[in-house]
């Protein structure tokens, strides 16, 4: 792991610096991201919210190195992101697990450089962490939607990344499962302490999970506001402060729509 962090960026894990992203379509340039600047601290849980089609996923893909910015840069520990890297793993909304591998095979996917014993141990640890015991030899087709997403998170964590990018990971789940999954993700985050960037369009999800919520405006996306959620975990979802922040966020997103 590189630790080239310069003094001025100490404590900053990920820095998004004047990032713009435009796509070429039929000879026209369509601007999707407009001058995005963001510092994320090590171990922080950030939620990106904004109207659909705003460019949340685009921003996540730029951070993950899957797309290169048109201008500006993304740096992790002071090192500019050049492409996808196993030190930061993206978890997809759907179809992210490999259907041809078992639960064990999926979790072990990124571990082929480990010895057999180490790999087995790592797999067992993460099977336990995401509570898939008893399903080690099952194929994804035999798992529920929530289990598949837990499996995807386990596969990501197994390679020991410093950053986890989650792109609406619970968006395709029913609301009960989604609620349970939030709890699971918080529990995992509190035990493993990774930096998490989480894209969602769900206001409750953002207020329940995030340390800070980054609100993007509609396209071309700018950072419209950053809301700090100053409530300790476990959060009481009916406390006045929670409801207040939830309303504030709803209002800001409402503003985003009219902007």
């Amino acid at each position: 792991m590189s630790t080239q962090s310069s003094p001025q960026s100490a404590g900053v894990k990920l820095r998004v610096d004047h990032v713009r992203k435009a796509f070429e379509r039929d000879g026209n340039s369509i601007s999707v991201l407009e001058d995005i600047n963001l510092d994320v601290r090590n171990g922080e849980f950030i939620c990106l919210v904004g109207p659909s089609g705003a460019g949340k996923s685009t921003l996540l893909n730029v951070m993950g190195g899957f797309l290169s910015p048109t201008s500006g840069s993304v740096a992790i520990d002071g090192e500019t992101v050049q492409g996808p890297d196993p030190r930061r793993i993206l978890v997809f909304q759907e179809r992210g697990v490999f259907p041809w591998l078992t639960v064990e095979g999926n979790i072990g996917f990124g571990l082929s450089n480990l010895s057999d014993a180490e790999r087995k141990q790592r797999i067992a640890h993460y099977v336990q962490l995401v509570r898939l015991q008893g399903f080690e030899h099952s194929y994804p087709s035999d798992l529920s939607g929530g289990m598949k997403q837990r499996l995807q998170v386990a596969r990501a964590l197994a390679v020991n990344p410093d950053i986890l990018y989650l792109d609406e990971p619970f968006g395709a789940l029913d609301s009960v499962t989604r609620f349970i999954m939030r709890g699971e993700l918080l529990r995992i985050w509190q035990t493993e302490r990774r930096t998490i960037i989480f894209v969602t369009h769900d206001i409750d999800e953002a207020v329940q999970l995030a340390d800070r919520v980054v609100v993007l405006s509609s396209r071309p996306a700018k950072i419209q506001d950053i809301l700090t959620i100053d409530i300790d975990h476990p959060r009481n979802l009916s406390s006045p402060r929670y409801l207040e922040l939830r309303d504030q966020l709803a209002q800001k997103i409402g503003l985003a729509f009219s902007a």
Binding site: F66, P84, G96, S112
Partner: protein, 248 residues
């Protein structure tokens, strides 16, 4: 459940036999005559010899096509530009019946096994090439992105993401193509060689209007075709392929 198709076939055989007995013309031999024809062929050791000859040609033509067309198709499909260049060519060659190649096959390879194998190869090649090209297209981006994210080398990516992602579609393509190969071999043997089940059918007619042997040959071709298809289908049951097929 397994008995139902068998029972249905028996009913059809009975209808066939009664139809033949009530109209004893020369239109078609009955099932009983056909069975005796198969017995005749077995007795003279011809059946086994011809079946082996046909299977030999199909195996070589089919395998050669698979070994060349699949890697080529996967590569072409992966590189969009290559596909733009190759696709029109493939679309021109594909609708040409393999039988149209018979004169050229004989010109190049003479009358014999090579000609027949070449014709089967031609019949399988374009079908498999297209299967492989479209299989690559149909890989969801997610799998490719996950492969990139975990930092796989190119060979590891091909072996651990590309190949398993296309395998179910390739199996479907192979299954259809093996059916084509079996169709082509019979036609090829009618013209380009002096053995095999296709030759048997033409020979039985030419050598004395033995229509019982003609139909016997057809029945054997059908049964072997069915067995080949069953063998290919059993691949769909392999655990790591099964995700690509509907539950049954």
């Amino acid at each position: 459940m397994r008995l139902r198709p068998v029972a249905f076939i028996l009913v059809l055989l009975v209808i066939w036999q009664t139809a033949i007995s009530s109209h004893p013309g020369q239109l078609l031999p009955g099932p009983w005559q056909t069975l005796r024809g198969i017995g005749d062929l077995l007795q003279h050791g011809l059946l086994l010899k011809y079946v082996v000859a046909s299977l030999f040609r199909v195996t070589w033509g089919f395998l050669l096509a698979a070994v060349i067309a699949i890697p080529l198709g996967l590569t072409i499909g992966w590189y969009r530009r290559a596909e733009m260049a190759f696709n029109p060519l493939v679309q021109i060659f594909r609708p040409i019946s393999p039988l149209a190649w018979i004169p050229i096959a004989i010109l190049w390879f003479g009358v014999g096994d090579l000609s027949a194998i070449f014709l089967i190869f031609i019949g399988c090649f374009f079908s498999l090439l297209l299967t492989a090209m479209s299989a690559v297209h149909n890989i969801p981006d997610v799998y490719i992105n996950v492969g990139r994210n975990f930092g796989l080398s190119t060979p590891a990516f091909i072996y651990r993401v590309l190949y398993p992602a296309v395998a179910p579609q390739l199996i479907v393509g192979l299954r259809i193509t093996l059916g084509i190969a079996w169709l082509v071999v019979v036609a090829a043997e009618m013209i380009a060689v002096n053995s095999g089940l296709g030759f048997l059918i033409v020979d039985a007619r030419n050598a004395g209007n033995r229509y019982d042997l003609v139909v016997a040959g057809m029945v054997v071709i059908g049964i072997i075709g069915l067995l080949l298809d069953l063998a290919m289908r059993s691949l769909e049951q392999v655990k790591s392929f099964r995700w690509g097929f509907p539950e049954n």
